[in-house]
C-alpha cells in the first residue's frame, strides 16, 4: 500500500490505534489500521459487532466517544493539492469542524435520531448550509430544495416544510444524506446506513448513494456487517476483526480468493444462509392434519374514543389472514416493518387479543381447542405447549434473575419440578442448547448476545412444547452466530418433535430454516408456498420485488441493480 494523492487517494489512514481505558486495563478498540479512500470509489469496512469498525470511522474525524482516544497513527486528508493531518487537530478546533461536514460528510445508522423532531426538515438543512457556506436564508433554502431533489425526495419545496416524523425511515435517511452532502464534501462516511431499513428501502438508498457518487466523484467509506451489501456496492473491502484489519483487497478478491480464515468464516456464514439448510429435520408432511389452524385472523388498532375524543379510523395491522401449521413443519412469516407479522405472532400467543378470527390448536390428545375462547387455566396449558422466543436477547431475560431462575421459572410456576429435580432439569436444558450447566448461577449480563438467545431457547423448551413461535429470533445477532442458532433450532426439532413459526424480515434466514413461507404486506397475506419456490420463483409482484431487493453476496452477480420494483396502491407510492 504505497498510494499517494496522485492515484486518487483523498484520505489515507496510517497505523491508526484507538484505546478505551476501562476500569480494569485498556481496551484496544482499533489497532494499526491502514486505509486508503479514493476518489469515486467505495471502500467497505466490514466486521461483526465490536470489531472496531465504527470507532475507526469516527476517529477519522475526531469523533471518538469519551473515554476513547487516538493513541497513534496519522490520518491525512488530500484536498486542494495539500495534505492535512487530521489527528494533529484538536477534537474541538475550528479546523476539524470545517472538515466535518465541509470535507467529510457523515450518515449514521439511525435516521430517526439524527434529525430533530422539533424543527422542519428544510430548516435543519438550511442551518447546516448557513453555517458552513455562509449563505443567506434565501440562498440556503434554494440549495436545500436542490439537495432534496438530488436525493430524490418527491415535491421537495413542500416536503422541506414538514417535520421528520412525517417522513418514513427511508426518506429520513435520504434527508440525512442531503445534509451530509450540503457542503459538497469529498468524502462520505456511511456508518451502517441501511441496517435499520427494510430491504426494498435499503436497495433504494444504496442505489442513491451509488448515483450520487458517480455524479460528484465522491469517495465513500461504507461501514457494514452485511456481506451482501458489500458485494453489491463496494470496490474495495477491508475486513476487520478485534480492532485489526485482517484482510484488504478488491471486492472480487475478497469474495473469490479470501485468504484470512476470518474472512472465509464470515463469507461461509453468509453463503450458508443463501440456500436451504441441509440439516432440516424433514419431518414435515403436507398431507398431515395441521396442529394449528389460523382462520381469518384480523387485528384493527384504532382509537376507541375516550372522554374527550371521538373514535378515529382504525389501522388494520393484520387483515384476514388464514393458514395452517403442520406437525414438524417450519413455517416462515416474512414481511417488511409494519407488515403485521409480529402482531400476527402475538395474536397466536394471545399476547394481543385479535379483533376477529379463529385460532384452533389440536392438542396432543387430538382434540381441537378454540384458543381465543380459552380461560385462565386452559390458556396456561396452551402456553406450555406453544412457546415463544423473543427477538431481543437483552430485553427478554430478566437482568435480576440468574440463568437458573430464568430457565427454572416455568418449571416452578407450573409445579413440574422443584429443588434438586429442577436444578437437574435446568442443567439438562442448558446442555441441550449448547451451554455449560456450570453457568447456571450467572446473571444474563455476563453472556454474549448469542449465548443469551440460547438461554431464551432453553426457557422455551422447559415445558416440553410442541410449537415454538420465534419472533425475529436471530435478527439481533451477528451472521456467524445467526447460523449457529438456526442449526441449534433445527437440531432440537429433530430431537424434540417441534413445529416452528419463524417470523423474520430477513428472507435468507427463512429460506435456510423454513419449509414453507408466508409473505405479508400491510397486514395482508400476499403469498404462501414452499420456501424454495417462494424464494426463487415467487409468483406475486410484491414478493418478486422483495426478493430481488435482497443484496446478493456475489460481486460478479449484483442482484439489486436489476431488481423489480413494486407499486402497490397509489397512496403507498410516496414511500421512498
Amino acid at each position: 500500500m504505497t498510494q499517494t494523492s496522485e492515484n486518487g487517494t483523498v484520505l489515507s489512514v496510517r497505523d491508526l490505534s484507538v484505546d478505551f481505558p476501562l476500569q480494569k486495563g485498556v481496551l484496544h478498540a482499533v489497532r494499526d489500521v491502514n486505509l486508503d479512500i479514493k476518489r469515486g470509489k467505495t471502500l467497505a469496512l466490514v466486521g461483526e459487532s465490536g470489531s472496531g469498525k465504527s470507532v475507526s470511522a469516527r476517529s477519522l474525524i475526531q469523533l471518538v466517544d469519551s473515554p476513547g482516544r487516538i493513541v497513534s497513527g496519522k490520518v491525512n486528508l488530500f484536498v486542494d493539492g495539500t495534505a492535512a493531518d487530521i489527528t494533529a487537530m484538536g477534537a474541538k478546533s475550528p479546523h476539524i469542524r470545517a472538515i466535518r461536514g465541509g470535507r467529510i460528510g457523515l450518515i449514521f445508522q439511525e435516521p430517526m435520531s439524527a434529525l430533530s423532531p422539533m424543527h422542519k426538515i428544510g430548516d435543519q438543512i438550511d442551518e447546516a448550509i448557513e453555517i458552513h457556506l455562509g449563505l443567506d436564508k434565501k440562498a440556503a433554502r434554494k440549495r436545500t430544495v436542490e439537495l432534496l431533489r438530488q436525493v430524490e425526495i418527491p415535491n421537495p419545496e413542500r416536503m422541506a416544510d414538514q417535520y421528520s416524523f412525517e417522513y418514513s425511515g427511508g426518506m429520513r435517511q435520504r434527508v440525512c444524506i442531503a445534509m451530509a452532502l450540503a457542503c459538497d464534501p469529498d468524502i462520505l462516511i456511511a456508518d451502517e446506513p441501511t441496517t435499520a431499513l427494510d430491504v426494498t428501502t435499503q436497495a433504494e438508498i444504496l442505489d442513491l448513494i451509488k448515483r450520487l457518487q458517480e455524479q460528484r466523484g465522491l469517495a465513500v467509506l461504507l461501514i457494514t456487517h452485511d456481506m451482501g451489501v458489500v458485494a453489491e456496492v463496494a470496490d474495495e473491502v477491508a475486513v476487520m476483526q478485534k480492532g485489526r484489519i485482517v484482510e484488504h483487497g478488491t471486492a472480487d478478491e475478497i469474495f473469490y480468493t479470501p485468504k484470512h480464515p476470518y474472512t472465509k468464516r464470515l463469507l461461509g456464514a453468509t453463503l450458508k444462509l443463501e440456500h436451504a439448510s441441509d440439516h432440516k429435520a424433514g419431518t414435515y408432511d403436507p398431507a398431515s392434519e395441521p396442529i394449528l389452524k389460523i382462520r381469518n385472523l384480523s387485528k384493527h388498532f384504532g382509537h376507541v374514543g375516550g372522554w374527550f375524543s371521538r373514535a378515529g379510523p382504525s389501522i388494520r395491522a393484520v387483515d384476514d389472514v388464514s393458514f395452517d401449521l403442520h406437525r414438524g413443519e417450519n413455517l416462515g412469516i416474512v414481511g417488511e416493518s409494519g407488515s403485521g407479522k409480529t402482531t400476527l405472532g402475538r395474536m397466536i400467543m394471545r399476547i394481543i387479543e385479535p379483533t376477529s378470527g379463529e385460532v384452533i390448536y389440536t392438542g396432543s390428545d387430538d382434540k381441537d381447542q378454540d384458543v381465543l375462547a380459552l380461560q385462565r387455566k386452559g390458556l396456561k396449558k396452551y402456553h406450555a405447549a406453544v412457546r415463544m422466543i423473543f427477538q431481543d436477547p437483552f430485553a427478554s431475560l430478566n437482568p435480576r434473575m440468574t440463568v437458573k431462575q430464568i430457565v427454572g421459572d416455568p418449571l416452578k410456576i407450573n409445579n413440574i419440578a422443584s429443588g434438586r429435580a429442577r436444578d437437574d432439569r435446568v442443567a439438562e436444558l442448558l446442555e441441550m442448547v449448547g451451554l455449560s450447566a456450570e453457568m447456571m448461577d450467572r446473571y444474563p449480563h455476563a453472556f454474549s448476545g448469542g449465548q443469551r438467545q440460547r438461554i431464551g431457547i432453553a426457557r422455551a423448551l422447559a415445558l416440553d412444547p410442541r410449537i415454538i413461535i420465534a419472533d425475529e429470533a436471530t435478527s439481533a445477532l451477528d451472521v456467524s452466530i445467526r447460523s449457529q442458532i438456526l442449526d441449534l433450532l433445527l437440531d432440537l426439532q429433530k430431537r424434540l418433535d417441534l413445529s416452528f413459526i419463524f417470523i423474520a424480515h430477513d428472507i435468507s434466514v427463512v429460506r435456510y430454516f423454513c419449509d414453507r413461507v408466508l409473505v405479508m404486506h400491510k397486514g395482508k397475506l400476499v403469498e404462501i408456498g414452499e420456501a424454495e419456490q417462494v424464494c426463487t420463483t415467487p409468483s406475486k409482484a410484491y414478493t418478486q420485488a422483495l426478493i430481488s431487493a435482497i443484496p446478493n453476496p456475489d460481486p460478479r452477480n449484483k442482484r439489486m441493480l436489476h431488481r423489480t420494483r413494486f407499486q402497490s396502491e397509489p397512496q403507498a407510492g410516496a414511500e421512498a
Partner: protein, 396 residues
C-alpha cells in the same frame, strides 16, 4: 409515505450499540469471553449497584452521616446530656460554653462557667463566659434518670458535667434555660421519624395506587391520575393548615404526631405513585415480563417476582429523596405553630423559639436546629442522588 411500524422491530434490533467497545470483547460466538469477566459474571444486580454506589464518594459520606443521625435519634436519651424539659431559670439564654482540655495548669476535660455582667450601654444583664470557673465534665456520668426504650430505667449519659447540678450548655440555653444540645438531640428523634413514618405511609399508598394505575391502565389509570392531579392542584400550606386545624387541641401529643404524619403523607404519596406508575407502564410490555406471563406466572407473581425487584432500587432512591421533603414539611408546619406542639420536641418546634427577631439577635444559637435541618436534608439528598445513579447498574 409509509406506515409507521406499529409492531415491528427494525429500530429495536439496534437496542444495543453493536460497536460499544465494552461489548467488543464479550461478543463472541463461543464461551471464550468468559474468562475476562471474572467476578462480574456472578454479581447480581444489587452487588453491581453497590459497586457503582461506592464510587460516588459524596453519597457514601452522606450515607454514613444519615446513619449517624438515625443512630442519634435511636439513642437520644443516652446521648443527650440532659432531659429536654429540664429547665433552670438562672440560665435563661445562656450562651454556648467552650469545651477545653487544658486550663493553663493541668489537663482535665472541663467547660467554662458563667458570670453575669451588666451591659454598660443597654444596662441589661448578660452572661459572659468566665474562664476562671471550671466545671469538670466526663463520660458516662450520672444525670437525670430516664426510661431507656421503655425497657429499663437508667441515669447514665454519654457526656455531661460530673456534678449534675452544675450547668453545661455546649450549644447554649433557651428562654427557660433548657439545654439546646439536648433538645436538638431529642428533636432528631421526632423529626427523623416523622420523615420515615410519613414516607412509609406514602410508599404504601404510592405503590398500591401507582401500581394499580400503571399495571391496569385504562379507566383505573384515568381515575387515579385525576385524583393525583386534584391533590397536587391544592396549595399545600392552606391544605395543611386546614387539616391541622381539624386536629383537636386536646389530643395527646403522640396522636397529634400520627395525625401530622398522615397529613404529610396525604400529599406525599402522589409523587411516589407517579414514579411507580411510570415504571409499571414502561415495564408492562418488556419482553421479559411478557415471557414470564407466557411461562404461566400469575399477576401477583408477575408483579412481585419480576416487576417490583426491577425497580425496587429506584423506589429506594425515590424514598430517600422523599424523606427530606417530609422533614421540611414537618419543620414548616411546626414552625407555623400548626404542627407538633410543645412539650413535644422536634426541630420545627425548636425553631418556633427563633421566630422573634429580637431573641435571635440576642441568642443566635436558637437557630441551630435550622442547621440540623439543613445538614440532614442535604445529606439525604446527596444520598438519594447517589442511590438513584446506582439504581440502574446496567446504565453507563
Amino acid at each position: 409515505m409509509g406506515q409507521y411500524s406499529t409492531d415491528d422491530v427494525a429500530p429495536r434490533e439496534l437496542g444495543h450499540d453493536p460497536d460499544d467497545p465494552a461489548l467488543a470483547e464479550m461478543e463472541d460466538d463461543g464461551t471464550e469471553a468468559d474468562g475476562r469477566l471474572m467476578g462480574l459474571e456472578r454479581a447480581g444486580a444489587w452487588r453491581l449497584a453497590w459497586w457503582k454506589f461506592k464510587r460516588h464518594k459524596l453519597a457514601v459520606a452522606s450515607g454514613i452521616l444519615v446513619l449517624l443521625i438515625y443512630f442519634v435519634a435511636a439513642f437520644a436519651e443516652f446521648l443527650a446530656p440532659a432531659a429536654p424539659g429540664d429547665y433552670a431559670a438562672r440560665y435563661t439564654y445562656a450562651p454556648p460554653q467552650t469545651l477545653r482540655i487544658w486550663d493553663g495548669e493541668e489537663f482535665g476535660l472541663h467547660v467554662t462557667g458563667y458570670k453575669v455582667e451588666v451591659n454598660p450601654e443597654s444596662l441589661a444583664r448578660e452572661f459572659v463566659n468566665d474562664p476562671e470557673q471550671k466545671i469538670p465534665v466526663g463520660f458516662f456520668v450520672r444525670g437525670s434518670s430516664y426510661e431507656f426504650w421503655g425497657l429499663f430505667e437508667w441515669d447514665r449519659h454519654l457526656f455531661g458535667p460530673l456534678d449534675p447540678d452544675q450547668p453545661m450548655y455546649l450549644l447554649g440555653a433557651d428562654r427557660l434555660g433548657r439545654d439546646m444540645l439536648s433538645r436538638i438531640i431529642y428533636g432528631t428523634r421526632i423529626s427523623m421519624t416523622v420523615g420515615l413514618v410519613g414516607v412509609a405511609l406514602s410508599l404504601f399508598f404510592g405503590i398500591l395506587l401507582g401500581g394499580l394505575s400503571g399495571y391496569y391502565g385504562g379507566h383505573v389509570d384515568n381515575v387515579i391520575q385525576r385524583i393525583i392531579e386534584f391533590l397536587l392542584a391544592i396549595p399545600t400550606i392552606p391544605l395543611w393548615m386546614g387539616l391541622a386545624a381539624a386536629i383537636p387541641p386536646t389530643l395527646p401529643p403522640v396522636q397529634v404526631y400520627f395525625m401530622i404524619t398522615i397529613i404529610l403523607s396525604l400529599v406525599g404519596w402522589t409523587g411516589l405513585a407517579r414514579v411507580v406508575r411510570g415504571r409499571f407502564l414502561a415495564m408492562r410490555n418488556e419482553d421479559f415480563v411478557t415471557a414470564a406471563r407466557l411461562d404461566g406466572a400469575s399477576e401477583v407473581g408477575l408483579i412481585l417476582r419480576h416487576m417490583l425487584p426491577s425497580f425496587a432500587s429506584h423506589i429506594i432512591a425515590a424514598v430517600t429523596l422523599a424523606i427530606p421533603v417530609m422533614i421540611l414539611s414537618e419543620t414548616a408546619l411546626s414552625f407555623l405553630g400548626i404542627g407538633l406542639r410543645p412539650p413535644v420536641v422536634s426541630w420545627g418546634v425548636l425553631l418556633q423559639e427563633a421566630q422573634n427577631i429580637r431573641t435571635v439577635a440576642t441568642a443566635p444559637w436558637l437557630l441551630l436546629p435550622g442547621m440540623a435541618v439543613v445538614i440532614t436534608v442535604l445529606a439525604l439528598n446527596f444520598l438519594g442522588d447517589g442511590l438513584r445513579d446506582a439504581a440502574d447498574p446496567y446504565s453507563k
